[in-house]
Symmetry: C2
Subunit: 254 residues, 2 copies
Amino acid sequence: MGDVAEIGGRRADRARQVADLLRGEIVQGRFGGGRLPREAVLAREFGASRNTVREALRLLRDEGLVERCPGVGTTISGEKYPHGLHRLLGLAETLHEHGEVTNQVRTMTLMEPPSAVRQRLGLGPGEQVVYLERLRRLNGLPLSLDLTYLVREVGEPLFDADLERNDIFVLLERIAGQPLGVAELTLEAVNADPHTASVLDAPRGAALLMVERLTHLSDGRPVDLEFVRFRGDRLTMRGHLRRATTQDPGTEKE
Amino acid sequence: MGDVAEIGGRRADRARQVADLLRGEIVQGRFGGGRLPREAVLAREFGASRNTVREALRLLRDEGLVERCPGVGTTISGEKYPHGLHRLLGLAETLHEHGEVTNQVRTMTLMEPPSAVRQRLGLGPGEQVVYLERLRRLNGLPLSLDLTYLVREVGEPLFDADLERNDIFVLLERIAGQPLGVAELTLEAVNADPHTASVLDAPRGAALLMVERLTHLSDGRPVDLEFVRFRGDRLTMRGHLRRATTQDPGTEKE
């Protein structure tokens, strides 16, 4: 059966398989936010050894998804919320079933933007933008840190808006008098630097889902450039892809 | 100007802003894969202090995106490849401009699937699946570790296929005699466990972009359930979202 390293490697491979399947079931609520079945039950279900199941549960514990307590078993410790990838939605809009989103404004200022911002927002030299930084919480727990650059015309009225309890998207549509249109989106996984980790109350180095998003009004003008760091242990993105090329005009730039 | 901790916090906030803008420019190829401008130039461009720019460059170095060398400056060390989120594509299809994708098959076996797999693939008790595990490389460097469960009918012919050099998607369409249809997708950011990190040749705890994807044939049958771990420092996902509800039938389950 090969040497010890190989057997260890095999168990790690098997544990990863089990962890992936359990992760999906936890996130989809199969265990109702409560307790996982006992190791022996899981071992039977996955046709795996108790040791493999134990290692899989350790992987999920290290992801912050479950807690393990001797005598008590494995309980689900963190809820992971689904953020729709099928439509452009603000956080409060997309998570309204899951609780209350509140936003703590860390910075809000009118500024001369760096050229990288100016280019993305299609601004001329000397044009100012509103820079906004928010720590967003769901049911009181930090979920994301959002850095937002807004074209002055739609950004300046936000100084008088209730940013604590409203998505920017909803406010922007009210201010612009037209719906938002298309957003260009980039998703990445990055490790939290120490300062970001402490702001998000996450472990140093925690995996973050990083979203860069340039949002246009429905008339095509880019108005909102955002850099959002979601805590990886609290959020999943869900959507659909089609194999056939869509006729969606939003994809023509690709 | 407040106490030291506050000043340190402010600089960290500013460094994050600069890092986010630079990251976007690096990934979009503004510097052509070469060298970044000198700190003084960047400081002027971002209206930031040299210390802030230095901290921003440290953040990008810790993400594995740049290297810093005294006397040489800051060079781009890792290329980050865009994976389209606008259409369902295999890795070799989506990255064909960026180089050669090769697949190392780590495991391939016919197995009795756990109930979590059976349910997702719509299988009855006792039906077997093909389990496939691949380490995927782009130009020789590890990019992703893919765990794949395939319905037996389309999976078994893969034992005779050239899996080293072909995307599963392309092979499945050939075998099934019909195109793929819709895939349900979940994206998460997770930290690499030690074993996965060593397989992907990434640092322990490295942020991974984790994709769970259930792919259907165009006739609607689910055939392919995948768990893909992309190295976060080597891949971005790019797409578009629309504010208006689309008429896409793929979104009706949401």
